[in-house]
Symmetry: C2
Subunit: 315 residues, 2 copies
C-alpha cells in the first residue's frame, strides 16, 4: 500500500487510540514544533474529560453492534424527556432503520407509524411535542466560541460537547447539523416530531435544517454502524422492501442497563483548554505531510474525541 | 412510515428524477411562490446541460456496479493525462479498494504498490508527477462565484461543474474537497501522488486538504458504491485483511469503451442561469416544511445535478 499512509494519519491514530485506551498513542508523530492532535490528547489531564451521564445516554443495539448516543437536554429538554420515556417503555425495540439517503441521513422508527391499528403504542410518551428548534442564550449554558467564522450563523462554537450556533441579536442559540448529530424527524407541522423517528447526519453538514427541526443529541460511538449501511433506493432513500430494513434490537437508556453491560466512555470537555488546543492543532496542521495549513476550521470539522476511561480499559 | 416524509423530499425527488429521466418530476411540490429545485430543473433548457466528454470520463467498474467520474484537466492536466494513460494500460484492473475511513475518504489502488517485485507496472504512466494543488486564475477558466462566503477561502464558486476556490491576491485557484471529489493520494513528498492511488471524499468536506494534494475530478454517479462500504478497522480505515478489500474489475476511459456500453450522462452547466436559480432554490428553501430559510449556502452543500439525456432514456 502506497501513498497517503502518512497523509491522514494523525486524526485516525488519535481517535483509534482514544477509543481503545485511556492513554493516547502518538506513534506516527515525529518531534514537531507545533502540537498535533495526538500530542494534545496525550498531554490531557483527567479533568479534561467527562464521563457520559447514564441518565443522558442511549444505547441503540443492532445486530452489528452498539451505537452510543448522548442526549442534549439543555437544547431539547422535552424531546430528551420523551425519548427517555420511550426507551424505558421499549418503544423502539423491534422497530428498524427505514431510510439511508446518501450524503444526508440515516433514519429509524416505526415502519407502521402511519397505520393507527399497527403502530407501536406510545404509552406514556407524547405523540406531539412543542418545537425545540432553538432556545434563549443563557449564562448557565456553556458556549466555547469558535472564532473561525461560519457560512450559516453569526456565531458558532461548542456547548456541552455539541456543535452549536447563536445569534446575540435575537438572543437565540441552537444546535448545528454536523456529522453524527441526531434529530427528531417531523412532518410539516412543527409539533409532529416527538422523537419517535430519529435521524443522524451521515454526510456533508445539512445546515439548512438548523432551526427547522429539533436536534436531540449526538452519536459518540458507533457512527459506522449507521453510515455504512446500504443506501435505500426508494424516494428519499427509504428502503423499498421490508426485508431491506435494519432491525433495532433495543434502545435503552444507559441508566436502565446493568452496570456490567454499559459502554463506559468519556468525552473531551469542550470548555477545556485541551479542547481549545486541539482545535488549534486541527486548524493548522503542521506535520510534515501538510504544506499549507488551512488557518481556519469549519465548525463541523472539529473532532470531539471520546475514549474509554483508563479504569475501564481492558488490562 | 411517519415523519420527515415531506421533510427532505425535494432534493431527493429531483435527483432521482434527474437521474432516471430527461424530464424532471416535481410530484411532491405543490404550487409555491418561490421555485424549488425540482421546479428549476423542470424549467431547464437542453442547452443548460452538457454531455460528459468520453475522453474525460472514467468508469470504475465494481461487482456492485459502475462509478462514473469526470476528470478535471483544467486544474490537474498532468494527473488527468497520467490517469488516462493508466486506464488505457489497464493499470487499475484487478486492484482494489483498500481503505474506507468513516466521515473521511474511500481510497483505492495497488495493495502491493510498496513491494517493487509485486507492484502493478506503470507502463507508460509516470510514477511521480509535479504537484497540481493550485493553478493560476485565467480568463478562459470559467468561475461562477458563490457569494455566500466560506470559512476556508477568500472566494468560492464553480468551475466546469466542480466546486472551486480562489484567491485573487495570490492569483491562484484550486478545487475544493467537497463530498464526491476525487484526489490523488500522496506520501510526504509533493510529487509522490501520480494518480495511481485515488481517494474520494465520503463525509464532511475535509477542506484542510485543499491546496495540499491534487484533486483530479468528481464522482458524477455511483457515489453510494463507494460511500456505503464497510469501514476499515485498521489505522486510517485501511482494511486489515486482504479478503475485506473490494476488487476493482476495471477502470476505463469512456472513450475506450464501445458506445453501447457507455453510461450516458449530462451534467447541469454551472455557468448557466438555471444553475444560479438552483443555488437560490437551495439557499432559501421555501416549501411548506421549512420554517426558517437558511439565507446562505455552503459551497459543498450545492448539488450539481446529473441526468440521463432524453435521447438515451429507456422508452
Amino acid at each position: 500500500m502506497r501513498a497517503t499512509t502518512n497523509a491522514f494519519s494523525f486524526f485516525a491514530a488519535a481517535m483509534l487510540a482514544s477509543l481503545t485506551s485511556g492513554s493516547v498513542l502518538a506513534a506516527d508523530a515525529p518531534a514537531q514544533k507545533a502540537k498535533t492532535m495526538a500530542d494534545v490528547l496525550a498531554a490531557s489531564k483527567p479533568s479534561d474529560w467527562r464521563a457520559l451521564d447514564p441518565a443522558n445516554t442511549l444505547y441503540i443495539d443492532l445486530a452489528a453492534g452498539r451505537v452510543v448516543m448522548e442526549l442534549a437536554p439543555e437544547f431539547a429538554p422535552l424531546h430528551a424527556q420523551n425519548i427517555r420515556t420511550m426507551a424505558r417503555e421499549h418503544y423502539f425495540d423491534g422497530l428498524a432503520i427505514l431510510r439511508v439517503q446518501d450524503n444526508f441521513v440515516t433514519q429509524w422508527g416505526d415502519p407502521d407509524g402511519d397505520k393507527p391499528e399497527k403502530a407501536h403504542p406510545f404509552g406514556k410518551a407524547s405523540k406531539t411535542l412543542a418545537p425545540e428548534f432553538e432556545r434563549a442564550i443563557a449564562k448557565d449554558l456553556p458556549f466555547t466560541p469558535l472564532p473561525d467564522g461560519d457560512v450559516y450563523a453569526p456565531e458558532v462554537g461548542f456547548s456541552n460537547g455539541m456543535p452549536a450556533a447563536r445569534d446575540r441579536k435575537s438572543d437565540k442559540t441552537w444546535l448545528a447539523h454536523c456529522y453524527g448529530m441526531v434529530g427528531a424527524g417531523r412532518d410539516v407541522g412543527v409539533e409532529t416530531g416527538p422523537g419517535s423517528e430519529l435521524y443522524v447526519v451521515i454526510g456533508q453538514a445539512p445546515r439548512q435544517l438548523d432551526r427547522n427541526i429539533a436536534l436531540v443529541g449526538r452519536v459518540v460511538q458507533g457512527m459506522e454502524l449507521l453510515s455504512a449501511l446500504p443506501r435505500g433506493t426508494g424516494a428519499l432513500g427509504f428502503y423499498e422492501k421490508p426485508e431491506q430494513r435494519v432491525p433495532i434490537k433495543s434502545v435503552r437508556l444507559a441508566a436502565e442497563v446493568p452496570a456490567a453491560e454499559r459502554t463506559n466512555l468519556e468525552v473531551l470537555r469542550t470548555d477545556s483548554q485541551t479542547f481549545t488546543d486541539l482545535v488549534e492543532a486541527r486548524r493548522n496542521r503542521r506535520d510534515d505531510w501538510y504544506k499549507v495549513p488551512a488557518g481556519r476550521i469549519d465548525l463541523c470539522n472539529v473532532p470531539i474525541p471520546a475514549r474509554i476511561p483508563e479504569s475501564a480499559a481492558p488490562k
